[in-house]
């Protein structure tokens, strides 16, 4: 166990502003040798910003950072690495068309003169692979390996650079429950070896499982640091949000009708080998939520794009309420009754340079009553926008505010408002609560349930298994572009769905049970 005052990192009174936001205001953080310390808070609480300052990527406006007792004045990543700080970023810092080996040694290459000494690199990497039981394939290119493996590569990369402190930014977001367990074993091994770990997360169960101490941040401010033994998830959630939260909504009983969306043997291209869709068939019926579960990158995004007309269907049929919409343009699909909350709201959901009202009316600004000929009827648009802003509780309430400045939650509510109001037959909700604060998650989930009650079909995709389980009536589990199984919500648990997400069929296991 770590000695009480043996601090390897001390950050005090840290202050950091960006042009639009005061990201960290009075941040405090200490790290002992050989501990796992979780840093928790909602999106935008300043967790990542704090750690990026420790790693030297951002320079603090005020406060002091001490590493190994030394006050560090002008940190750069180079200096931080030299002091033994390593960071695994939420977005992996791996170059796609270089090999695993090249990525690991980058910046710290063993040399023979000016030439890279590949044999020595390999030997040094193998040492970490064996010590911590992490298999990686050094000669594969990054775009040929899975997300889980890419994460192990990232960890080996930081160890290779001589890190004693590992900062892990939301490391479990891309893992299945089973992979998580294995990942935690690795972390414990690292801790027992004397490494210190900063675990950034907002998943409270995981935090309670793995941490020694926990620091909570909220809207850039330091809230508290507690020992794991002295707290519980309810208390942590309260500290994170600043009030009590109830995320578990009573699931409305589904009143199921005729099929709204039928997918028949869909094949589409994929960004990676594992995300190519190969022969997917299922349907979504009126009045039910079908959730797609799966580890990110197993073809969920590609499938949704294919349904929505954003990616070419190479084989198969997409049928919406009896009408064949295969390879229709997105606009034609919309006209046929498809509405879509896209997974990346900044790329496809919103025009961030335009105002709230312009985004709300975006897909029908040329229709009556919003336009007469080539003139826009600003009054009508304003009235329409004000209605939706009130109904969906979008803040700020001023319709002319540019969406660029909105928080993740409110930006997402604009997209949700527009798509729900479009009153289609099918609503696709892709990662509806990604990068959204807990308050907004609560209201988005309520809205989805209300839409279902109106008798519409909902196709939900989420990387958050807990969300899929909480909302869906049926769960389609995808693995490497194929369906591993379809589970009714009564039978679904994070265990059996998790196994399917790993690509293991259920039948054998079920036989054992029965």
């Amino acid at each position: 166990m770590a000695a009480k005052d043996d601090y390897i990192v001390e950050m005090s009174d840290i202050d950091k502003s960006f042009p639009a936001v005061h990201a960290v205001d009075g941040g405090q953080f200490t790290l002992r040798r050989g501990e796992i310390h979780s840093l928790i808070g909602e999106n935008g609480a300043g967790k990542s910003t704090m750690m990026k300052m420790l790693y030297g990527l951002y320079r603090p406006d005020g406060g002091t950072i001490k590493i190994n007792g030394k006050v560090m004045e002008h940190l750069t990543p180079g200096i931080s690495i030299g002091e033994g700080i390593g960071m695994v970023h939420q977005e992996f810092m791996l170059v796609n068309d270089l090999t695993v080996l090249e990525n690991v040694i980058l910046g710290f290459e063993p040399k023979k003169g000016v030439i890279i000494n590949f044999e020595e690199s390999r030997a040094r990497i193998n040492k970490y692979v064996e010590t911590y039981h992490m298999d990686i394939q050094p000669d594969k290119r990054i775009d040929q390996i899975s997300v889980g493996e890419a994460q192990r590569v990232e960890i080996i990369k930081t160890l290779y650079r001589g890190a004693n402190v590992l900062i892990l930014d939301e490391p479990t977001a891309v893992l299945t429950p089973q992979e998580c367990t294995k990942f935690f074993e690795i972390l414990q091994e690292l801790r027992n070896d004397g490494k210190s770990i900063v675990f950034i997360s907002h998943k409270l169960n995981e935090v309670m499982e793995i941490s020694d101490r926990i620091t909570v941040m909220r809207t850039g401010k330091y809230i508290a640091t507690v020992n794991k033994e002295d707290t519980n998830t309810t208390e942590l959630a309260k500290m994170m949000v600043g009030r009590e939260v109830f995320l578990s909504i009573e699931k409305e009983k589904a009143n199921i009708g005729a099929p709204i969306l039928e997918l028949k043997d869909i094949w589409t291209s994929g960004e990676k080998e594992l995300s190519k869709i190969r022969g997917v068939s299922f349907d979504v019926r009126a009045g039910e939520i079908v959730g797609i579960a799966g580890v990110d990158g197993n073809g969920q995004s590609e499938l949704i794009e294919a349904v929505a007309g954003l990616r070419k269907v190479e084989k198969g049929q997409v049928i919406l309420d009896g009408q064949d919409i295969t390879n229709d343009t997105p606009f034609e699909a919309r006209k046929a009754g498809l509405t879509h909350i896209p997974e990346d709201r900044n790329l496809r959901g919103l025009n961030r340079a335009l105002s709230i009202e312009e985004n709300l009316v975006a897909w029908r600004f040329e229709e009556k009553p919003f336009a007469t000929g080539i003139n826009r009827n600003k009054k009508e648009i304003r009235k329409f926008a004000e209605d939706l802003i009130e109904k969906f509780d979008i803040r700020p309430t001023e319709p002319t505010v540019i969406t660029q400045s909105l928080s993740g939650g409110n930006a997402q509510k604009i997209v949700v408002a527009r798509e729900v109001d479009a009153d289609g037959k099918l609503l696709i909700a892709s990662q509806p609560s990604r990068g959204v604060d807990i308050g907004a998650i609560e209201s988005i989930r309520k809205i989805l349930n209300a839409v279902k009650k109106e008798g519409k079909g909902i196709l939900l995709v989420s990387a958050d298994l807990e969300e899929v389980l909480a909302l869906s009536d049926r769960i389609v589990v995808m693995y490497e572009g194929r369906i591993m199984g379809i589970v009714d919500s009564e039978d679904a648990t994070s265990d059996n769905v998790g196994l399917l997400m790993l690509g293991e069929r259920l039948d054998e296991k079920e036989k054992e049970v029965s």
């Binding site: 750069t76 960071m87 810092m93 796609n96 990525n103 980058l106 910046g107 000016v114 572009g481």
Partner: protein, 305 residues
Amino acid sequence: MNDVFNITLIYATIRSATPILFAALCATVTQQADILNIGTEGIMLTSAFVAVLTSVTTGSWLIAILMAIVSGIAIALIMAVANIRYNAHICAAGIAVNMFALAITKFGLQQFLGTAGTFTSPDIKAIPRIHIAALDGIPVLNDIFNNWCVTEVFGIVMVIVLWFLLFKTVWGLRVRCVGRLPMAAETAGINVRRMKYEVMIISGVLGGLAGAHLSLGYSQMFADNITNGRGFMGVAAMNFGGMNPLLVWVGTLIFGFIDSVGARLQAYGLPSQFILMLPYIFTIAILVLAMWRKGRMNEKAKSAL
């Protein structure tokens, strides 16, 4: 037809390709760091002029090459500072440099060499050719390998040197990373700006060689806009070769081949305007082909069928 396609066509191809080859390498090294070097043309033109001027005044082709390199670096650094330090778009900086080069060389031609349009003089000390006496009289080998210009040999050496630098050395790995995912380089403690400056300086050296070879090796003269789009053809060849020096070299050889065949066809009464158009038509064709191939490969790689 034997007058067109005969053994001497091999050397003729190398001869026409070399100026474009240096330009293509100049564009390749920066492209590896994700800098599209439109300014290759301007670097080349300026250093072609400086090479002739220095050659006439000092009487040394070696000093002329060195000065051409220095001027190449200077022009490259203008772009580098504008782009890396002041965030100007690299294409805007490149276009500015190209126009500046046209103007400054025209001005310099009048001011220092006292003529307009074209400057030729017996005082121009050209880059020497390597005469291998032993090959005299041996039919095929003599036609292919004898009397190469020093820089023509050096061009091929540079292809291999650049390939080695990019794919085998620490520096090359870092450059490739800077060009593909600068954040990854930064988090590895690599100074991204510095790497970009280094790459630009090397492109200045290569562009300087391109210019010097054009005015002192390929020809012995300077004329307004003597480069005549060769810098851009270099950029096209870089695209064709997908930033790999060896394939880029192949691209420039295609240009060289077209150019030499075209020149010979003139003797058969093809209109000279048509012959002069050929390199540009092939630039477009090669770019279309390169992009089409890239698109096809991409599509094929992504398809699930």
